[in-house]
Subunit: 303 residues, 4 copies
Amino acid sequence: MTAPSPSERSAFVPAPPPGRRTAVLLLTCPDARGIVAAVAAFLSGHGANIVDVEQHTDADEGLFFQRVEFALDGFDLADDDVLPAFREVSEPFAMEVELRFPERVPRVAVLVSGQDHCLLDLLSRARTGERVGDVVVVVSNHPDHQASCDFFGVPFHHLPVDGPGGKPAQEQALVALLERERVELVVLARYMQVLGPDVVGRYPHRILNIHHSLLPAFVGAKPYHRAHARGVKVIGATAHYATVELDQGPILVQDVAAVTHRDSVEDLVARGRDLEALVLARAVKLHVAAKVLVHGGRAVVFG
Amino acid sequence: MTAPSPSERSAFVPAPPPGRRTAVLLLTCPDARGIVAAVAAFLSGHGANIVDVEQHTDADEGLFFQRVEFALDGFDLADDDVLPAFREVSEPFAMEVELRFPERVPRVAVLVSGQDHCLLDLLSRARTGERVGDVVVVVSNHPDHQASCDFFGVPFHHLPVDGPGGKPAQEQALVALLERERVELVVLARYMQVLGPDVVGRYPHRILNIHHSLLPAFVGAKPYHRAHARGVKVIGATAHYATVELDQGPILVQDVAAVTHRDSVEDLVARGRDLEALVLARAVKLHVAAKVLVHGGRAVVFG
Amino acid sequence: MTAPSPSERSAFVPAPPPGRRTAVLLLTCPDARGIVAAVAAFLSGHGANIVDVEQHTDADEGLFFQRVEFALDGFDLADDDVLPAFREVSEPFAMEVELRFPERVPRVAVLVSGQDHCLLDLLSRARTGERVGDVVVVVSNHPDHQASCDFFGVPFHHLPVDGPGGKPAQEQALVALLERERVELVVLARYMQVLGPDVVGRYPHRILNIHHSLLPAFVGAKPYHRAHARGVKVIGATAHYATVELDQGPILVQDVAAVTHRDSVEDLVARGRDLEALVLARAVKLHVAAKVLVHGGRAVVFG
Amino acid sequence: MTAPSPSERSAFVPAPPPGRRTAVLLLTCPDARGIVAAVAAFLSGHGANIVDVEQHTDADEGLFFQRVEFALDGFDLADDDVLPAFREVSEPFAMEVELRFPERVPRVAVLVSGQDHCLLDLLSRARTGERVGDVVVVVSNHPDHQASCDFFGVPFHHLPVDGPGGKPAQEQALVALLERERVELVVLARYMQVLGPDVVGRYPHRILNIHHSLLPAFVGAKPYHRAHARGVKVIGATAHYATVELDQGPILVQDVAAVTHRDSVEDLVARGRDLEALVLARAVKLHVAAKVLVHGGRAVVFG
């Protein structure tokens, strides 16, 4: 808990293929004629080669969403000049614009409580070279994860909620740690504490949570117990951005498993562990690849 | 609406294979030593050959559930004498017992409103020889299904809810029709009227409903609209026995489909049609095969 | 079999929403800089509004695939002039180009043998308003489907393979019928005859077949029997374009169902029916929506 | 490689709940009247309480399969006396009988090559308390897994195939190690060497392999490359018992994932890793729970 400077980037972060540095524009605006052509003309005029385009029009709300990925090789604008120059396109169309550089892997904090299956899964994927971000710190209200973090070479911090000052003090320490480590994505990997609005507000669409049910079913505590009591034949897990309202944030990924009357609550918990780890990992990879756009409580998740 | 006597069994009901007539005992009792052996000894002592056994012990509630299917060839008890004779087993173990003869295909009424995809699916399956029961009557609050029912050779009754006497009169006419047709299973195949407690109470665990969501999510009206608004990535359908509480009955079958932000409400509706027809058909077949036991609001659904 | 002129468009084909007439360009070319911008500039310069773009780069083969859908409202080129004018883009990039108008629903022939589940499924979907094309004729080597086709209002032709002249004569009659009806898409809906190269060659990537296995497993006859003998735990169905090599054509859609040792061959056949109908319908809809591009034996299937 | 005595049971093996020690009989015989009753009478007569019964009749082959699990509390036969006494039932019915004690967790060897995702998954599950057996040794032809095994507290042995004596010598050393460790189940967790018939013959239905395709598709090497070349839309993994014929053994578990043209071979490999680990773990748990019966190249896999 005393690391004075941010941790180094871990050895697990894969380098981008040479000559393939790209940038991503994530655009949201009212639907209108000519958006696609205007964006393409801007990029082309500055020497960029468009390597991927995905878009979505929400006809009901009259909104247009686009993700454009373009190669930086040959592009004539410096990274910091892209958004200012792009105003010639974004302003006439009243666009919200986000610019991301996929090879700048976000610095990730993983928060965890007693159960470590999602944590170990993410760290294993990082080591295998999957693009789950650069896990620079693991934080838990339980002390149990030091050995695992040592094994994977990631700093571990134990921040108990029952220390002096209670949970408010713990959240203060947490925020201080996240800021010191310059964390850009917080992953709640079965972190069983509700984060206060102060923390959530600092990281809009930057906190990913895994909930162990198919939201909106079984919001809140003990979803497997309640699923068992209801006699459902399908369980699931949901990865979503945390918002101040519990389990109401935009959904990125959901997946399911079939169950039967033979499955006890413990069986559901065990089946659910696999789902939770998979669903959370997919969501982290989508976020890291800049494939998610949020609007009005819903997530547009590109290919 | 004027058929004076119950309809004949339709030509679509497959005959049981000769020499393979079987009976099924569905048993529920407090868990105890010796149940399996006692049941087996009773059947064996009367010359029955057990062709299938499935059982389930709910450890939390201390309950035992069993489905025993036995060949009637060689069995020395008449159909009506089985339950009285079986009291020597069922009474000591405080069993609830249901006796079913799978080759006695239940007489089925299908209730439908405007959308006919579940109705056509069931009638097609009946014609193909799938064991979905003997559909002796189709009832709708819409007039549109006469031609389809004619094509499949099933009597159609239009019972509008806005006739003289309103919905109470319609339900009276419905009950009279179901009784006249000696209906043993009512299938709500996207019947968009809430059945009153008088109807539901007459057919305990004999009314199958298809709900177009993954219950308990989106109880009630317009689940696809609400699923779209919430931005879910999985939709589903749920087949359950109707009870007086809306969408709260025991669940037999659930299944799902992945969706994305590209899917409009209309897309969800179209995807859902396939799910609804499949899930409802599976549930009907399970019921007809005597594979469902209900206890405490949950369904034990055997293999 | 005597209809002298092509059938009228069926009543089931939904009209395009007013003001939303669109065209689709399907492009394949060697990957290069500037393709996206050049296409967008061409369309924009002629007053078209791009409503959807999807693309795919096959890095291994150095190929670029794109589907661009644009609104025709405001577009200054007549339908027949689009491709000639587009040569200014397509020639420099060595593009293969296909132009489709989604509201011009293709005229579809459904070929079927004894089993009718895929046929009935397609006709039901057409009637429900799903975009499965305009089924102008149903052809079978079995005589059994007249009543079903009458019910759905689609002309039925019985072309037996054991008539005078045998199978060659039957194929000649088939080709004559397809041409007279100006058929643009042939759907083999469990048609159990191998089509000769003369027929297949006339409809490149215009004949959709459903095979009742997860290709490349169980190519050829009796896949469910062989799946049962192998003891697989998953069965599936595959929709692909027919080519002269049996079951080797480009795959559009596959889907699966879990099975167990309890499932007999007959059970697999019954489970398979549902899969076959669903998978074939999805493939037909993708083709009709101009969402499929074929290259080198593989299908690029857009969103 | 020098451990002189078998390793101790690892700390991760969960103890059976007190008073719930059970035994399992796995029975195969020609179908006949009275089997179920005879087995139940035998067990009941010796004071056993049957806690689970599952059975299966293969009508085509006239075979009967049964798994009976019974509590040992109150049972009047010593473990070693069960099979001799049971001959009064098994001989008249010509049964093949296997007796298993689920709380006697089998000693497991995990064999692995370069990729460690299945190994880490199994070791994580063991630590979490899932019933994947008692992993007493990990063997690899690669040297890379010492640190992981140290972390999980499992002995690691590096047995290179290119040492003196080549692969025959390596297999000899492997067999010696398996025997010294009294291994009862060998798990090939992406072990990329073909085991010779000498090794396979020693462990009939005691070697579990994970193959990275949906067998029988893509038998042999590089299945993901071949799946990509064929343009499939579904990939899968298959867990089966190894036999001397490559990838032909009885299948226990298969599962699938949907893929698209956007997925490169590397993407399939990554998606496949998750499938392989899940499918292999399920198969190991089924084997450990004595839920698998093999007959004629196919596996009966109970509930």
